[in-house]
Symmetry: C2
Subunit: 145 residues, 2 copies
DNA sequence: ATTCGTGCAAACCATTTGCAAGAGA
DNA sequence: TCTCTTGCAAATGGTTTGCACGAAT
């Protein structure tokens, strides 16, 4: 009952492209890593697939909306999107790099509201937060004292 | 009374780096373009500065928080950040590419609330929305009919 | 005068592309 | 079988780096 894999295959078919081993492999890599990965890292974790194909596939996935790409500092990170991952955002600790997933309905509501105020029908959105986690705040305070 | 330029110079000094012609030029380019630019475009619009220096400067700016970088599709775009630009976000039309700046206090409040709920002290955030603008919705509807 | 930053040119490396062979429908 | 994809390898082009000169403090 691997529903995700099925949905994935179906999605590809619906878009008239084939369900290949390479594509499944990359989908699998993304599925296993439960955090956004750099392109290079995706390639490294999918050694059975040629680097060139990884890029071609990633571009396809992005076009079909299978993946989402966000910027962290200077590097783009990719992860599975909506249909395959519960909708969420991230908050990153600027000191220790800890990443926590965020899920919040109010936030989603406000985003929709804001979009409609500008007369847009919201389809996608990227929200990435960063700050200091509790641990690092504690440490910093102690040091400062 | 070019306050921005002064703040910029001050910020560099405070961080112990020099205020150079190249840095001013790039700052100026960013300031003039009132929208996010690709790295290459920044270089193109600042022909007096060597490409290598543009990258070095951009990295410096990002590190000092002078600029902010966001992802659009596959490309990173950079623009001036907080101190030099009124805080805002963008919403992009997926059909015609129109970009509108967003400013909304409720949104900011909710973000802070969400962060604190996860025990983070929010310092920065990226919010990028995309959807269909009113014009394109109208066109699409007409075509469909 | 010293230190920091820049330009130039070469080096790197991630990403892209052409093409023939192989996998998918 | 016929078309879509992949792998391989070469080409590309954005980004980085070393070094000597020139600018900033």
């Amino acid at each position: 009952m691997n529903t995700d894999a099925d949905n994935f295959a179906q999605l590809l078919k619906n878009n008239g492209v084939s369900v290949t081993t390479a594509r499944r492999a990359i989908f699998h890599t993304l599925r296993d890593a439960d955090e956004p990965l750099k392109n290079g890292e995706i390639a490294r974790r999918t050694p059975t697939v040629d680097r060139a194909s990884v890029y071609r596939t990633l571009e396809l996935f992005a076009r079909l909306g299978i993946t989402e790409t966000v910027m962290r500092g200077w590097t783009p990170y990719t992860e599975l999107a909506e249909p395959f991952t519960p909708h969420h955002h991230h908050i990153i600790c600027e000191n220790c790099g800890k990443v926590v997933e965020i899920e919040n309905d109010t936030l989603e509501d406000v985003l929709n509201l804001v979009a409609s105020r500008y007369d847009f029908a919201l389809q996608k959105h990227v929200v990435e937060l960063s700050g200091l986690c509790a641990d690092c705040r504690a440490k910093t305070t102690r040091q400062a004292a």
